[in-house]
């Protein structure tokens, strides 16, 4: 009994000599891939062209006082082709001195071309790979996906960090939807809804968020503009979206800007009053916000109350119009990213869901949007 400890220590010692640390791989021995871009292969190439971005630690400023400065080459961008994604990464491994490490991959950029063909095949590998984060951001890129990795933003040393910050900041401000891989997978698995992903465009130096790409059955079928995306976010996630800049009716160059602060949306399914029979969905969305800008200021109202009243009315119409456009687009592409189908399945299962094929029914399902605008403040300015 007293020798127990010594035996145990001996055993551990033996074990460690036998072992040889299978999984031990130092930080610097891993080629951390921060972003992957997936394009279609060229004419005579294999199906996919995969581009990865690997930071070069020694070049990153702030690391042990050296390096820094020339941030032009703080990352290495490499590109390979392959029949599948895993094939491509294996090909890439042949060109690397260290093992590829996907545990830090934060962005998967997919070109629109590929996305329109369907991305189910691409995501299968990501689904099986244990190291892949569920919280990474798949992003659809207009044009070549690899262009996203080649930008030189200068505001951040590593381009991917710039993109991460862009999305992260947008998420915090409520202007960019936080669509992770996990969300995408959940939504594609779910038979009552369709996924959407962020949609960006990369120029030589910069990257720009240009709305969202909407999907149907893993295939990108269309895109929403930022303004439409904000409507979608208000209806779907109760996120505030971006500022609403509305041209004033009947005037040249006259605009009013509403900054939504708080959004509350209720979805109710009720018997359709107008078309007779069937159900209709009503999104009632209450937006509370401030007036941020009002130009030109030469039109004066009798009193602030009048001003608020008039603005609320006009903004309501504008926002309902925007939402209608968005819904029309969704219905045109038959992509229910609104989670309307889920609502129907959850709360109207027996009376609606079992009798209809949502895949076909969404196109013609009557959807109404009712906005209620509540102006809270006029900014620092008191006069209208």
């Amino acid at each position: 009994m007293d020798k127990r400890w010594s035996y145990l220590c001996l055993l551990l010692l033996c074990l460690s000599f036998l072992a040889g640390c299978w999984d031990r791989r130092e930080l610097e021995e891993r080629a951390s891939v921060l972003a992957i871009a997936i394009d279609a292969g060229g004419e005579d190439e294999e199906r996919y062209r995969v581009t990865v971005q690997i930071p070069i630690p020694i070049k990153i400023a702030g690391s042990s006082g050296q390096g820094g400065g020339g941030n032009s080459n703080a990352v290495k961008v490499m590109s390979v082709t392959g029949r599948t994604i895993t094939d491509a990464t294996n090909n890439l491994q042949l060109r690397l001195n260290q093992r590829l490490f996907l545990g830090h991959t934060r962005v998967v950029a997919i070109s629109e071309e590929i996305a329109r063909e369907g991305i189910e095949d691409i995501l299968d590998g990501f689904r099986r790979e244990a190291l892949i984060r569920r919280l990474l951001w798949p992003i659809i890129v207009r044009g070549k996906a690899s262009s996203l990795l080649e930008i030189k933003p200068q505001l951040a040393q590593i381009p991917v960090v710039f993109i991460m910050d862009l999305v992260e900041n947008g998420r915090k401000m409520g202007t960019i939807p936080d669509k992770t891989l996990g969300d995408y997978l959940n939504e594609t698995s779910n038979k009552s809804m369709q996924p959407f992903l962020n949609y960006v465009e990369a120029t030589k130096r910069e990257v720009k968020w240009i709305g969202t790409a909407i999907f149907h059955d893993h295939k990108m079928v269309g895109s929403l503009t930022p303004i439409q995306t904000w409507s979608l976010m208000q209806l779907r996630n109760q996120k505030r979206g971006g500022d609403v800049i509305m041209p004033l009716a009947g005037q040249e160059d006259a605009y009013v800007t509403l900054r939504p602060r708080f959004v509350d949306t209720n979805l109710t399914i009720q018997p359709n009053k107008f078309k007779g029979g069937g159900l209709e969905a009503v999104f009632s969305c209450e937006v509370q916000g401030d007036i941020m800008e009002y130009v030109p200021g030469n039109i004066r109202f009798a009193s602030p109350e009048k001003f608020i009243e008039a603005m609320q009315k006009e903004l309501k119409q504008e926002m309902e119009k925007r939402a209608r456009q968005m819904i029309q687009k969704l219905q045109k592409h038959n992509s229910d990213v609104l989670k309307l189908g889920l609502h129907l399945r959850s709360y109207h299962f027996h009376d609606y869901w079992v009798h209809h094929d949502w895949n076909k029914a969404f196109k013609d399902f009557p959807i109404r949007v009712e906005y209620t605008i509540k102006l809270r403040r006029l900014g620092m300015e008191m006069e209208q």
Binding site: D2, K3, R4, W5, S6, L8, C9, L12, L15, S16, A19, C21, D23, R24, R25, E26, L27, E28, R30, S32, L34, P55, P57, I58, I60, G62, S63, S64, G67, F101, G103, H104, R106, L131, R133, I158, V161, M164
Partner: protein
């Protein structure tokens, strides 16, 4: 006639020598437990033979007023010479004493040789008077002793400044002075065949659980050591699990801590010659508690206790967590940080396990060296060494900057534990954890923690489970575990020590 006497004396000497030589090991047990004779010279010879004619054995002969020869025997340096010259010899030679009562404050008589020898050894002087088998033992102990000073190892900001000294009687007095309870019981034991060390076992009757007290006494009595130089000997010999790295008996230099523990129903073991006093039984939670926790307000006391627990965990786990994260689970480190860390490590030629081991061993060497260095130089060398070596190692690309931070934090964390014996256990265990982390990453760390917890659960200190009050769960006892509840909410003594008088504060006592 005189020839006959000479022959007789010689024969007696020879016989005496024979009996003495039979017990060749001259430890205390070998001293024959026999009565002394009434002949003064015989007795002196007897004693001198016991001590093998040691030169520090002083025999002072004189004549007392009744005309009889007398001798005082003592060991040089261990007695207060004033006591002997002023009170013993002067009173006996000048005053007209019909019955013997040397004017010393403590006086005993005996005729047993063993007791006489023992008294001489412990600094008393012995008075022989010709024609009498009564031998007087005079308490004349008076060697130079250290005065009561502030304890070096357990300093507190608020709290008493006195610490134990090397003198047993002073230590006992320091406790008595704080605990004026007639129920405080002291059991005197003598341990160590050669050192004959005095040991006091203290407990409060009616509070401590008698079987625990008996068990402590039994274990000390059964000790067969020949030397007790420090309480550490007793601690290691009487603890339940001798192979455990965890201390199962607490030691302290602080009398207030001893009194507080006595009041919780524990047993204190005082040993002559060391300022460290043992407390048994001990549980794990005691090792991060400090007496100060009870002197300051409970919010801050609880907070500080939490900080201590965290710092102990840091001291144990931080380097291994670093190894696990950087070698096994880099995906857990935020992306931005991981690039910076990889940059720091890119010049380091070793795996992080070797890097960490290297740095930890270096810091242990520094720490040990700064303890050994003379007084004021020690800390200076420690700081300079750490700064210079750390900075140089980083710029030489031998270790990464993060590692230096980790080692520094770990070292500081291990100092935050109020108990040195627990802190060194943690310091030591850090290395196997690092090793396990180097094998299996976080999984390995957890394996180690589980082994450690199983071991901790299996330990009992004098029948008290080491992890109480967490396991077995005792919600009342938890009030003094991580949090220190206000005093008025801790009306009961901790029940895990099976105290008899359970109530610490009577209901009607509080205002």
């Amino acid at each position: 006639m005189s020839q006959f006497w000479n022959a007789w004396n010689k024969r007696k000497d020879r016989l005496r020598n024979q009996t003495l030589e039979q017990h060749a090991n001259k430890s205390m047990d070998s001293v024959k437990d026999s009565p002394v004779t009434s002949v003064l010279e015989d007795n002196i010879v007897l004693i001198e033979q016991q001590f093998g004619k040691s030169d520090d054995l002083v025999v002072r002969r004189f004549q007392i007023t009744t005309g009889k020869d007398a001798a005082v025997i003592f060991l040089d340096g261990m007695v207060d010479r004033n006591v002997i010259s002023d009170f013993v010899i002067r009173s006996l030679t000048t005053e007209n004493v019909t019955y013997l009562s040397p004017a010393s404050n403590e006086l005993e008589t005996t005729n047993q040789l063993r007791q006489i020898v023992r008294n001489i050894l412990s600094g008393n002087s012995v008075l022989f008077i010709d024609g009498s088998t009564e031998v007087y033992l005079i308490n004349s102990r008076g060697w130079d002793r250290r005065s009561v000073m502030e304890p070096q190892t357990e300093s507190v900001v608020r709290g008493p400044r006195d610490g134990f000294t090397e003198t047993l009687s002073v230590n006992a007095a320091l406790i008595r002075f704080r605990l004026k309870d007639p129920n405080l019981r002291v059991k005197h034991l003598i341990v160590g065949q050669r050192t004959q060390t005095d040991v006091f076992v203290m407990h409060i009757d009616g509070v401590a659980h008698p079987p625990i007290v008996e068990e402590v006494i039994r274990r000390i009595e059964n000790l067969n050591l020949d030397a007790i130089l420090e309480t550490g000997y007793i601690e290691q010999m009487i603890q339940d699990h001798r192979y455990s790295p965890f201390p199962q008996i607490q030691n302290t230099e602080r009398p207030d801590k001893i009194v507080a523990n006595l009041l919780e129903g524990k047993v204190a073991i005082l040993v002559d010659g060391t300022p460290f006093v043992l407390i048994a039984p001990a549980v794990l939670s005691q090792f991060y508690q400090s007496p100060e926790d009870y002197y300051e307000r409970f919010y801050i006391a609880s907070l500080i206790r939490f900080i201590r627990v965290i710092s102990i965990l840091i001291a144990l786990l931080l380097p291994s967590l670093y190894i696990a994260f950087s070698s096994f689970h880099p995906e857990m480190i935020p992306s931005r940080l991981v690039i910076a860390m990889a940059a720091g490590r890119s010049t380091v030629p070793f795996p992080s396990l070797v890097e960490a081991m290297f740095m930890e061993i270096a810091i242990e060497i520094l720490r040990e060296a700064s303890v050994r260095l003379p007084g004021p130089i020690g800390p200076t060398i420690g700081i300079v060494g750490a700064l210079v070596v750390g900075e140089a190692a980083v710029s030489a690309g031998l270790v990464s900057p993060v590692m230096v931070i980790i080692v520094a934090v770990t070292t500081i964390g291990s100092f935050a534990s109020p108990s040195y014996s627990a802190a060194i256990a943690i310091r030591m265990l850090r290395f196997p954890v690092m090793f396990m982390a180097g094998l299996f990453g976080l999984y390995g760390i957890m394996l180690f923690i589980i082994v450690m917890l199983v071991h901790l659960s299996s330990i009992k200190s004098f029948g008290v489970p080491y992890l109480s009050p967490i396991s077995p769960l005792n919600l009342k006892g938890m009030r003094d575990l991580f949090l220190r509840f206000p005093h008025h909410l801790m009306k009961l003594r901790p029940s895990m020590f099976r105290v008899h008088d359970k109530i610490r504060m009577r209901e009607d006592d509080q205002s």
